[in-house]
């Protein structure tokens, strides 16, 4: 048995011994499912909190981070194995969220020791929640057009401007921002820096944005003469674009995976809705065209999960393939197709916004359908993803956008 296989047996035993039974089968074990933590967290599920504490104690909330920063000191391959074992029984990771999935890895690669010591343990313990300040009203797909100003004033940066789509800024403790430190740089990708800010700093205001679904996971974050120490600069000044791209890479593959949920759940969800709304409690659904559409969805779903598994196996074997690049494109497409079909089988019962005549499940479903429209936009639109795959994987020449 190889060392990794021996470790797999150990990880499996630990996960199965310790994961609370109430959490099993509830999660696709993606990096954004489960306990997000932070000082504003009001989580009351005891099993979730117990699972968090067990994970922290074992060092497996951030298995591949160094032990000194609250991690487990394991290899990337071992971390993959641990997450696969959690996924195998459908439990969430003990701690989830932006800090672990995106900001932490960047700080490990580009930050300095003081920054790592200051921020990583709080992330690994789920005590500090982070959000991301990337997009601006005039910097969406063309992110490098960002204008949040960061001017040096002695030992401080003074931030002025606005970020948008800062997910859960209202529930977060800190924000990592892309800011323009050199407005005169010859190319807009130059002159950008990564700067951290405590959201309690005077001058920061957060406003929630309502979506078409009525949900509000997103915020606008305004900066009005916000002063942060220069030690909050990550990496080199004016060289932040490289870091930004690295973070986006983490984000995109994470979004795709986090959408995955439990294998088979999209199909069974649509079948259940079809049974409910068509009044066919069991057996064959008497509409061959609908069966065909549901089967096509179920097949896409299984193909997606098998592809995620194949990527995972490649990563564990130390030769990651290029297929991870399509994770977000396919995962978000799958999600949208699922909700579209679920809405279609509901007919006019899917048209309710609130109030009498509609049951809670249908009202919730309709809003999730609306929410799903954002999935092919946020974190880099599908079109931007295709540009990236085209250039980096297929090696096609860059053209005019």
């Amino acid at each position: 048995m190889s060392d990794l296989e021996a470790f797999r047996a150990e990880a499996r035993a630990w996960v199965r011994e310790n994961a609370p039974h109430s959490l099993r089968g509830t999660s696709g074990s993606g990096p954004f499912e489960g306990y997000w933590g932070g000082t504003k967290c009001e989580e009351s599920d005891r099993d979730l909190l117990r699972w968090r504490d067990l994970g922290i104690e074992k060092g497996w909330t951030a298995p591949s981070w160094p032990k000194q920063y609250g991690g487990g000191g394991l290899s990337y391959e071992q971390e993959q194995v641990i997450h696969a074992e959690m996924k195998a029984i459908g439990v969430p990771r003990p701690v989830a969220g932006q800090g672990l999935a995106m900001f932490g890895p960047v700080l490990l690669e580009y930050g300095n020791d003081a920054q790592r010591a200051q921020h990583l343990p709080g992330i690994a313990r789920g005590e500090v929640r982070w959000c991301q300040g990337y997009s601006e009203p005039n910097a969406g797909s063309d992110l490098a057009n960002l204008q949040l100003k960061a001017e040096r004033d002695g030992e401080e940066f003074v931030l002025n401007g606005q970020k948008i789509w800062t997910s859960h800024a209202n529930l977060s403790d800190w924000i990592y921002c892309l800011a323009r430190t050199d407005p005169n740089a010859p190319k807009k990708q130059m002159g950008i820096s990564v700067i951290l800010a405590d959201l309690n700093t005077p001058g920061i205001t957060v406003r929630r944005i309502d979506l078409i679904s009525g949900y509000s996971p997103f915020c606008e974050t305004f900066f009005d003469n916000v002063r942060v120490p220069v030690s909050n600069l990550v990496g080199e000044e004016n060289k932040g674009w490289t870091i930004a791209k690295a973070i986006l890479g983490h984000e995109r593959s994470s979004i795709g995976r986090s959408i995955a949920r439990q294998p088979g759940s999209a199909q069974s969800d649509v079948v259940a809705r079809a049974r409910k709304h068509l009044g066919v409690p069991e057996g064959e659904i008497p509409d061959p065209l609908l069966r065909d559409e549901i089967a096509a969805l179920g097949m896409l779903e299984e193909a997606f999960h098998l592809t995620l598994a194949r990527n995972q196996q490649s990563a564990e074997s130390g030769t990651p393939g290029a297929e991870g690049s399509i994770t977000k494109i396919v995962g978000t497409e799958l999600k949208q197709k699922r909700f579209e079909l679920g809405m279609k089988v509901a007919g006019i019962q899917g048209l309710g916004w609130e109030g009498p005549g509609f049951d809670d499940d249908d009202l919730e479903y309709t809003r999730e359908w609306l929410r799903s429209r954002a999935s092919t936009i946020e974190g880099g639109s599908s079109e931007i993803q295709k540009n990236i795959v085209s250039k980096r994987v297929l090696g096609l020449p860059e053209g005019k956008k």
């Binding site: 195998a88 439990q262 294998p263 088979g264 759940s265 199909q267 069974s268 079948v271 079809a274 049974r275 057996g283 064959e284 659904i285 061959p288 069966r291 065909d292 549901i294 089967a295 096509a296 179920g298 097949m299 896409l300 299984e302 193909a303 997606f304 999960h305 098998l306 592809t307 598994a309 194949r310 995972q312 196996q313 490649s314 074997s317 297929e323 399509i326 494109i329 396919v330 079109e383 295709k386 540009n387 795959v389 085209s390 994987v393 297929l394 090696g395 096609l396 020449p397 860059e398 053209g399 005019k400 956008k401």
Partner: protein, 381 residues
């Protein structure tokens, strides 16, 4: 895969080596341009016996055949590794007829005597064994076979006509389905040299060789029955599941090659002073094909693995693989022609061969829509 651990979807070191060796051999010895030569020469053997024999010497024809019948005793997964590479160049050699139909019928239903008589010859490249199951009047989905087996003093007499029997005009043995009662049918091994058998070669778009096989009172004994008397239906179902998976592996390879050739072309072809591959309209469509290829690879590997390791999941995954590989291959082939532009619709260029094979493969062993219906049944809706 709900509730299960995902199957192993990577090739081991030996399989990677096999894949690489097969790739290089086939690129060198069996390029797709041969299809044009075979078609125009109208020679009786529409493929290369020499290449087939060389592949036998390399052990590739007997990969899955057990060692006691002179094979290597490996799995169906290993066979799929070679099939994928054979698909890249659309090889017309008898992979489908002999390795996916004849061999699988014998492995799943053959008697010890039948296996001893035929499998060593298949592994050695000497024997071609095919299956005759299509009939002209079955096109509309009629389930009753026109080919019948009448009881005779010595056994049975077979009469009827099979069409598009792959390599039927060359085969050493043809296994045919024939009605043995009002409701059931049976498989029989027929030697084409027997009296009453006539074969007429057919020409198809895809370059695979086929023939009409007429049976006119062909005498067979009960020891020529494969599987159970009246028991052909479940046996054929298992054979077609395997054939669908093996064909999907070929379709995967073919799609990969058509796509790779297309990407090369759009990087080089210039219009408006730039490579056409710099246009976003083509780039996004290319990524759509790339995406389907990645998904299809996963399902084909999973289905091939199931044949060796998870027999209860074979039908479901065979339907998944066949449905997706068929759609992906057709999509890749259509986009290949469109992106090649005018040259893509000429007979001079090889890229046009891919859509012909795609259409034939799409229609073989169940269309995607049929597999989606079966998938729905297997999932209980």
């Amino acid at each position: 895969m709900s509730g299960h651990r995902a199957p192993m979807l990577l090739l081991n070191d030996e399989q990677q080596m096999l894949s690489k060796t097969a790739y290089e051999f086939i690129r060198e010895r069996a390029p797709a341009a041969r299809l044009r030569t075979f078609r125009d020469s109208k020679e009786e053997v529409g493929f290369s016996r020499e290449v087939w024999n060389e592949m036998a010497e390399l052990g590739w024809l007997g990969l899955q055949i057990p060692e006691q019948y002179d094979g290597l005793g490996l799995g169906f997964f290993d066979l799929c590794v070679v099939l994928e590479q054979s698909g890249r160049e659309l090889m017309p050699e008898p992979f489908v007829s002999t390795l996916l139909l004849g061999t699988q019928v014998l492995l799943l239903g053959g008697t010890e005597a039948q296996k001893k008589a035929l499998l060593p010859g298949i592994a050695a490249g000497a024997a071609l064994v095919t299956l005759g199951y299509e009939e002209a009047h079955l096109r509309g989905g009629a389930s009753k076979l026109g080919t019948v087996a009448r009881k005779s003093a010595a056994g049975f007499e077979l009469s009827g006509e099979k069409v598009q029997v792959l390599d039927g005009h060359l085969a050493d043995r043809i296994i045919v389905s024939a009605a043995t009662s009002d409701t059931d049918y049976t498989l029989f091994v027929v030697d084409p040299a027997q009296s009453g058998v006539t074969t007429v070669r057919q020409a198809r778009i895809d370059g695979l060789n086929a023939a009409i096989v007429e049976l006119n009172g062909v005498a067979v004994g009960s020891d020529d029955i494969v599987g159970e008397l009246d028991g052909a239906a479940p046996l054929l179902q298992s054979v077609f599941d395997r054939a669908a998976v093996g064909l999907s592996a070929q379709m995967l390879g073919a799609s990969e090659q058509a796509f790779a050739d297309t990407i090369e072309y759009i990087k080089e072809r210039e219009q408006f002073g730039v490579p056409i591959g710099s246009f976003q309209a083509l780039q996004h469509r290319a990524v759509a094909v790339y995406t389907e290829l990645a998904l299809t690879r996963s399902v084909v590997l999973a289905a091939a693995r199931a044949i060796d390791e998870a027999p209860n999941d074979v039908s479901r995954l065979a339907s998944l693989a066949k449905a997706m590989a068929s759609e992906t291959f057709m999509h890749a082939a259509k986009e290949a022609i469109q992106m090649h532009g005018g040259i893509g619709v000429t007979d001079e260029h090889d890229i046009g061969f891919y859509i012909k094979r795609a259409q034939a493969a799409y229609m073989s062993f169940g269309k995607p829509s049929q597999h989606r219906q079966r998938w729905a049944e297997l999932h209980g809706y």
